[in-house]
């Protein structure tokens, strides 16, 4: 039988009390995607992926965020067998971020080279206020 627990605060015996809104107020959307095949593997609150060019694109949100000042945490997979540092980055410097779309670019680099590339495994999660 489905039920509901209503509480404004949760208290720990060791760490004091926290308002439930800070517990419940977690990620507002996420997207796990493969730009190598231009496909979304799993998501929440995502309407589509715009693949704009090699290693670049945007995640479009279904429920817009309150404004463009939300946070995205990211991760991406390694580049074949080479020792590169890889990262999925905010691309707002080149493509304006909006409340309904988060633009990104995926980079790899080592001591001698760097490039934008299509990652086969990228994840991002958005945190902030919803519209």
């Amino acid at each position: 039988m489905a039920g509901k627990i209503i509480a404004d605060q949760i208290q720990s015996t060791a760490a004091g009390t926290v308002d439930t809104k800070y517990v419940v107020d977690g990620r507002k959307g996420f997207c796990n995607f493969n730009q190598g095949t231009s496909a979304i593997t799993d998501s929440l609150n995502t309407s589509s992926l715009t693949d704009t060019s090699a290693g670049k694109g945007a995640i479009n949100w279904t429920n817009a965020m309150g404004n463009a000042n939300y946070t995205c945490t990211t991760g991406t997979g390694t580049v074949s067998t080479s020792a590169y540092v890889v990262s999925l980055n905010d691309d707002a410097a080149f493509v304006a971020r909006t409340s309904s779309a988060w633009s990104f670019q995926t980079n790899y680099a080592n001591a001698s080279t760097s490039a934008i590339f299509d990652s086969n495994f990228s994840i991002c999660a958005a945190y902030g206020d919803l519209a």
Binding site: C31, I40, L44, L49, T52, S53, N63, N67, A68, D118
Partner: protein
């Protein structure tokens, strides 16, 4: 499975319900569009969970809600959305076919400057295709474009969407834009 009566329920909660209860739908449709003559063609891929919502019906708001929020955000004094209730309180749309869902997604996630006049010019700026029609590797991805040989047929216009919902969006948009100009 029937969709609960969701009008007035926060859209984000609806999306959670959909993720818990609906099977994701991977569509084979892709939207190819050219937003800028100096940039390669963009490929729009529908999200499987979103597609499940669109096919199910009773979850997503009408697309014009997004247009009004976009107009708000384009306002120079915009700080944050104050009309988010449009997403939550507007009566959700009914079930769409896969093709209608792609069309909805175009109006939502492709820049208006692209779809508004997509078929004006030497070749269309936007085409809907099957993913098998795209290059099968990412080679020369930054040189991809819509073929000059593509000839697009006519499609549903914005005015037809307005008629579906019994709205006069031209007037609504005009009012929004005028409001922006007043405060600019």
């Amino acid at each position: 499975m029937n969709t609960p009566e969701f009008q007035g329920t926060n859209l984000w909660e609806r999306l959670h319900w959909a993720k818990d209860n609906l099977e994701p739908v991977q569509t084979d449709y892709r939207v190819v569009f050219e937003n800028d003559v100096d940039s390669p063609a963009s490929i729009l891929v529908a999200d499987p969970n979103w597609m499940a919502c669109a096919l199910q019906g009773g979850i997503l708001p009408p697309v014009w809600v997004y247009w009004l929020l976009a107009a708000d955000e384009a306002h120079p004094d915009f700080k944050k959305h104050t009309r988010g209730y449009l997403l939550h309180d507007t009566r959700p749309i009914g079930p769409l076919t896969e093709e209608q869902a792609i069309e909805y997604l175009i109006y939502k996630d492709v820049p208006r400057t692209v779809w508004e006049n997509y078929n004006v010019g030497n070749k269309p700026k936007l085409v809907i295709c099957n993913k098998s029609q795209l290059p099968q590797t990412r080679e020369w991805r930054n040189a991809w474009g819509i073929s000059d040989e593509v000839v697009s047929g006519n499609s549903k216009t914005v005015q037809q969407i307005e008629k579906q919902d019994g709205l006069d969006l031209t007037e609504m948009f005009s009012n929004e834009l005028n409001r922006s100009k007043v405060y600019a």
